[in-house]
Amino acid sequence: MGHRHQLTDSVIQVNHLSFKYTSQYVLEDITLHVRKGAFLGLVGPNGSGKSTLVKCLLGIQTPQQGDISLFGEPLKKFSGWDRIGYVSQKANSFNSGFPATVFEVVSMGLYGKIGLFRFLTKKHKQKVYEAIEKVEMSAYTNENIGNLSGGQQQRVFIARALVSDPDLLILDEPTVGVDVHSVQQFYTMLKQLNQEHGITLVLITHDIGAMTDYVTDVACLNKHLHFHGDTDTFTESENEMMSTLYGHDVHMLTHNHDHSACEVPTS
């Protein structure tokens, strides 16, 4: 049993994972570890395999080589999917004319848990209100989702992922289409979720500049894993890292909070 307790500290463990859709590998020999309570920024250019790696983690794709453990259990045996919240890249490309309130959208996060032929109870509704509160959107509970800004909608989708009380939250490019100012607020909120509510976070992004102020760990991915360590070590070797990752020199400016200045080419 003691052995098992040791394992529960590990939220994600990926060993020597390789994956290809057709003949070319998009991920090669990835070994990655996320401990409980970490806030990992997974960065890499577009097409670097970030989203594919997440799909493997969620069991949507099966890697050709290597193995994955979630919460200390091999993926094949893993059944605690309600412990994982996932906000996909496509979350904010929904039909924005859809007549649904913030409350209704967030309650969808409980539907899987509630099961067939059952309805929301008072307790469930309470959970929905709490999740909306956590992302500071209580003032908009009965507002149509289509009337909110991109940043606000993104918060609602986070709330939907939070409502089932996940231990791990995976966010795939959550800040695409969100203005710079809202992005900062958004990251601050994520940091709070991580520190105050103890939720392990994995944030996938190609925008390195903004993220490094908030995350505890960084992993750089471009088919291979180029860096994996804490944020301080990352910032020390950042310039060197970026040129390996993106294939040419990228000058990172200092982290004054003007993040528009340190954008990274995404080709």
Binding site: P99, F103, M108, G112, N142
Partner: protein
Amino acid sequence: MISVFFQYDFLMYAMFTGIMVGFLAPFLGVFLVVRRMSLIADALSHVTLTGIAFSLLLGRHFSLFQGLNPLYLGAGFSVGASLLIERLRNVYTYYKELAIPIILSAGIGLGVVFISLADGFTNDLFSYLFGSVVTITQSDFRLIAAITLFVSGFIILFYKELFFLSFDEEQAIISGMPKRFIQWMFIIIVALVIAASMRVVGILLVSSLMTIPVASAMRLAKGFKQTFIYAVIFGEISVIVGLVASFHLNLAPGGTIVMIAVLILLITLFFTRGRHT
């Protein structure tokens, strides 16, 4: 004014059937509209006519079919076509809407052939085209009541799944919503509701009751549940006012019902002008 509807059996059937359809069509229509499938109702209603024409044709040649309510074959054709549409939508993944004109024109083509084989239009067929609420029989009434119960039950039991899948299919599948089952059941239900509504407003106008009250509701509603409530209220007002008005003014009931629904839409558009939906 309305009391006359409870003095005669045929008017009572008309009123009760109208009330059921006024509930059912907009109720299901909300899902059709948000899934961007409102045109499917049109395609399926035309195929329903094909089934009815086929049934009337068979009735000419085989006495066995003479006693059969043509609505049964109409509903059967409609369900069959709905399954074909679903197949075609999967074949033309990038041109999903192509399935609709294909089935619509194939249905009309076949229907016209059946009609010509039966030596042209009969009065019967005409009443299906434009609706004929006063000729609703007890057997129609029973069939429509059964469809209403079945469809409402399904939507209430699978409300969560239908809602989630309509809003965000990818996330819904990850959460374990049974997409395939819901998708198939949904399209079959659309076919059934069309067969039920066409007795009241007719084939040519059947999609109007599924879309116009919803279009009005979406201008006013906050949220999904409210959209249902408004849509059903507008649907019922259209049917009841339309029936009573058409009876007293001697107008075509189907057309009058649709005109009331359009009037409600115009009023809501006027009061919500400047807002984008």
